[in-house]
């Protein structure tokens, strides 16, 4: 899922400063389950901003609404009226949600309430970790299901490097060395010989190096008449 966290309150206050009617828009998918931007967080943020602005002597009208997915036109269309009535939309969806609102509502001023951080999973209650960097050419089949692109600090294809210490990455003791994890897992699966093969440099054109990416599925496209 997409993992995000709320921006500092002061920054959010500054972003909405010029507006009088503020609509906080939450998203019911990824950011709900990482507790950054779901219905509950939208209500908490709206209440906090109402109180803070009132104490500031400039009471703002802050309301909140949450759609199932902020990154799809169909869901955004259901809140058209509320968006059009607002001076500013404070999106607490991920960066995709913010841009979807900007694209669907060309006349609306929209600002982000979250910092979108990474693609990952909840490792334990209250802890999220990165797992994928969306490189566009997945090599997990070669690395025992552990991603060296997202989880090795140097994104090495032939690791580990000389900085791997007792299972920790040299960049930070708290980071498990991805290549140690790959080694251990290959060993426990009896496939260590896979490491004899030297991986050539990865083609990064499928990643960000090829510019913004796009996928087209002709079989799913609607014809002109539809």
């Amino acid at each position: 899922m997409i993992i995000a966290e709320q921006k500092p309150f002061e920054e959010i206050k500054n972003l909405i400063e010029p507006a009088q009617r503020v609509l906080v828009v939450g998203c019911g998918t990824c950011v709900t389950v990482c507790f950054a931007g779901g219905a509950r967080e939208a209500a908490i943020l709206a209440a906090s901003l109402r109180m803070a602005s009132k104490l500031n002597g400039d009471p703002k009208e802050v309301t909140d609404v949450t759609v199932q997915r902020q990154c799809e036109w169909e869901y955004l269309d259901t809140i058209a009226e509320q968006i059009n009535e607002a001076d500013i939309v404070l999106s607490i969806g991920c960066g995709i949600g913010v841009q979807a609102i900007a694209e669907r509502y060309p006349k609306t001023w929209v600002v982000p309430g979250l910092n979108t951080a990474f693609l990952g999973l909840p490792a334990e209650q209250g802890v999220w970790v990165e797992r994928c960097a969306a490189c566009g050419d997945c090599i997990l089949g070669l690395t025992a299901g552990i991603c060296p692109i997202a989880r090795c600090s140097k994104s090495l294809l032939n690791g580990p490097c000389g900085g791997s210490q007792d299972g920790h990455c040299e960049v930070n003791e708290e980071i498990p060395c991805a290549w140690q994890l790959i080694y251990d897992r290959l060993q426990s699966l009896g496939k260590l010989e896979m490491l004899y093969e030297i991986r050539p440099p990865k083609n990064w054109r499928t990643s960000r190096d090829g510019g913004p990416r796009k996928i087209v599925r002709p079989d799913l496209r609607l014809s002109e008449e539809e």
Binding site: A39, I44, A47, S48
Partner: protein
């Protein structure tokens, strides 16, 4: 700040298994506690939501008490520990908003601790008397919000 002429409002979210029963027992024992305290019964302090507290403050409450079982005695095992963390989160939010973090506090009171319940309410009243009324109040009286506004689910 003087407490004269200020009708302080303290909302006490009390777990039905302990603090609510303690308040009941205080009544049965004819122990008096400040009339400023408005008790809201909840099934466990684990049900305590950050939004309940924020809505109380937005509606003008001067203080919020969250009263649950003694550590280790929660009927649902760890609801009171969850409540402690949520109260801490509300304190952080209050600081950001510009209100005093002391306006909310967690207490651990078992069902037999009637006099401790009374002491907790008196302590909370002294706290708000020291920091003064909630500046978000429209007038001297707290005004309850019409709708709860909690997201469903």
């Amino acid at each position: 700040m003087s407490s004269v002429n200020v009708d302080y409002q303290i909302v006490a979210f009390c777990c039905q298994y302990c603090a609510y029963a303690a308040a009941d027992l205080a009544g049965g024992l004819r122990l008096q506690y400040p009339p400023n305290v408005k008790i809201v019964q909840i099934p466990c302090t684990g049900k305590m939501d950050v939004l309940y507290a924020l809505q109380a403050f937005e509606s003008g409450a001067d203080a919020v008490m969250v009263a649950g079982c003694m550590p280790g005695d929660c009927h649902f095992l760890e609801g009171n520990f969850n409540a402690v963390r949520r109260v801490e989160r509300v304190k952080d939010l209050l600081r950001q908003i510009g209100l005093e973090a002391e306006r909310i506090r967690m207490f651990h009171i078992s069902s037999s601790m009637a006099s401790q319940f009374v002491a907790a309410t008196e302590e909370m009243l002294r706290t708000v008397e020291a920091i003064g009324p909630n500046p978000l109040r429209v007038s001297g009286k707290a005004h309850p919000q019409e709708t709860c506004g909690l997201p469903s689910g």
